[in-house]
């Protein structure tokens, strides 16, 4: 390390980085796994294999993925408008995107429940639409259950409500990761494609979208990760019906409230492992797509 640098302090800053990461991230995680490891293998399996946990896990990971995917579409649209057009109030709209970051999630949850519940502005329309579907088509099975729930409670107390909450908190991540990349694209590349005879749709699909894909994946990853861990905004709108609208973080809290620390640690560890694997796979995928190493 005898190489002279213009700005010194590698040792100091690296030391700080390691200390900080250890104190804030590694140590608590290690404690968590240590706690969970105190439980035998059989108990691990019985806790994680219980139907209630499996239902919650499917709901959490499944809805988080769907919500992140929808956030990507919504985020792309919003970013497109914010980057490519000039209109009065643009700055205001731009700042509003960050609101879900700043708002206490419980406030978001209560507000969303009020709006999307049966008596809410939007929830009442969802309920009447669902009632109409129910009488017209009489759907059965899973969809039938959903429609019944919507007709009774609006979007509240159903996976739809959880999905709405997760989209609400997820889409700012997409906008903020996409915005600088889209601003960097510039007009020349589109004009080049246009002079070569490409129509607007072709320009979007074959030139713009591929260049945005790495950023879109990053946005998806962030929204997905946030959605998996989201608690505050979900628990109000979901109603927490066992086997139906319970999310994993809620089960962890309910174990903690019963002073069942070991079970909580086991669930949390399982969640961490799955999340880590998913994020790792997405990262690998992105590495392969990353043709932008100019």
């Amino acid at each position: 390390m005898s190489k002279r640098r213009i700005i010194p302090g590698f040792g100091l800053s690296m030391g700080f980085t390691i200390t900080y990461l250890s104190l804030i991230i590694l140590l608590p995680l290690a404690a968590l796994f240590l706690n969970a490891a105190g439980v035998g293998w059989a108990e691990w399996r019985s806790i994680l294999g219980s139907p209630r946990i499996i239902a919650a896990a499917r709901l959490t990971f499944g809805l988080s993925a769907v919500a992140a995917a929808v956030s990507v579409v919504l985020g792309l649209l919003v970013t497109w408008v914010l980057v490519r057009y000039h209109f009065p109030g643009k700055k205001l709209l731009d700042s509003m995107v960050d609101l879900p970051f700043a708002l206490p999630t419980a406030v978001a949850g209560i507000t969303l429940t009020a709006i999307y519940g049966k008596t809410g502005w939007i929830g009442c329309h969802i309920a009447s639409a669902a009632a109409w579907i129910k009488t017209t088509w009489q759907p059965t099975g899973w969809l039938g259950d959903q429609v019944n729930s919507w007709a009774d409670f609006g979007a509240a107390y159903s996976p739809l409500g959880i999905f709405i909450a997760l989209t609400f908190i997820g889409f700012p991540f997409v906008v903020r990761t996409l915005q600088p990349v889209m601003e960097d694209l510039g007009h020349e590349i589109e004009e080049a494609a246009a002079t070569l005879g490409a129509g607007r749709w072709t320009v979007f699909l074959r030139v713009i979208l591929p260049l945005l894909t790495p950023a879109l994946i990053t946005g998806f990853t962030l929204a997905f990760a946030r959605a998996i861990g989201e608690y505050g905004s979900v628990i109000f709108i979901s109603g927490n019906l066992p086997m139906k609208t319970e999310i994993l973080p809620l089960l962890i809290i309910s174990q903690l409230e019963q002073f069942n620390f070991k079970a909580a640690a086991v669930i949390a560890s399982g969640m961490l492992v799955v999340s880590f694997l998913l994020l790792f796979i997405i990262n690998l995928l992105q590495r392969r797509l990353d043709w932008q190493n100019r």
Partner: protein, 328 residues
Amino acid sequence: MSISIHSISKTFGSYKALEEVSLEVPNGSLTALLGPSGSGKTTLLRIVAGLEFADDGPGKILFHGENVSGVPAGKRGVGFVFQHYALFRHMTVAQNIGFGLSVLPRSKRPSPSDIRDRVHELLCLVKLEGLDKRRPHELSGGQRQRVALARALAIRPKVLLLDEPFGALDARVRKDLRRWLRVFHNEIGLTTLFVTHDQEEALELADQVVVMRNARIEQVGSPQEIYDRPHSPFVYEFLGNVNKFTDPSGNQSYIRPHEIDVVFAAEYDPTTDRLARIQHLFSAGPVATLSVRLDDGKFVDIELSRKQLDDLGLSVGDEVSIRSNLPQ
């Protein structure tokens, strides 16, 4: 295919970028739009390409007599090379060059093997054989430039438009590429219009030079005509170095540095010469540049061949007599 530009105007908000500009670009010519930044040359090029549309009014653009004023860029059949090339960085060189063919409507689109052949043909034309699988970031500036050119030529354009084609290259590559483009143009004979702010580039490369200033065309002509018979002081000053003299009644006259002779002070002839003292001497290169100071304090630049300078054996501080039809 010739290009006729008839009384084109363009305003951006309250800013006038072009004011009733008319121009003929003969079939097969290599024409330079030359001017300082803000003169409207790039706007004119973009209007010819269909990337920008002229203000409503009598203005129109004709390609070989056919009015294309309302035709969008994609249907106009122009090859456009952007200043920073605008290559698609997620595609290989071959995909970049073949892009224009691959987006044709299905009925007109060549088969993948025909596209491959055409791409290969173009790669040979621009001397980039074997680089088809590279990505743009793996190429040098000059190579990127030629990929952009090949991509523009793939659609067999009627005219070729280049925006500051050498602006982003370093001096050495720029010179080579300039010469190459001249030969290339002679080979393919495509009507070409390019924008530049570099007078040397315009004079060396073009058959026809269009000097622009403040949204208007100042002068059109062959490089020789423009250099030797400038119509206005602006053109005189813009094309190469010039010494400017103002006589006591306010009239201005111009003389180029190479039009002045230097003789020994002993040979001073009061009818044609003026005495001057050498202030600075630059002789690294085939042409030596002298900066001399006249008795009234005015500085004059002079260009001599190295041989002339060596024969005279001059050095800084010497008094010389400079000879030309200088105003007294």
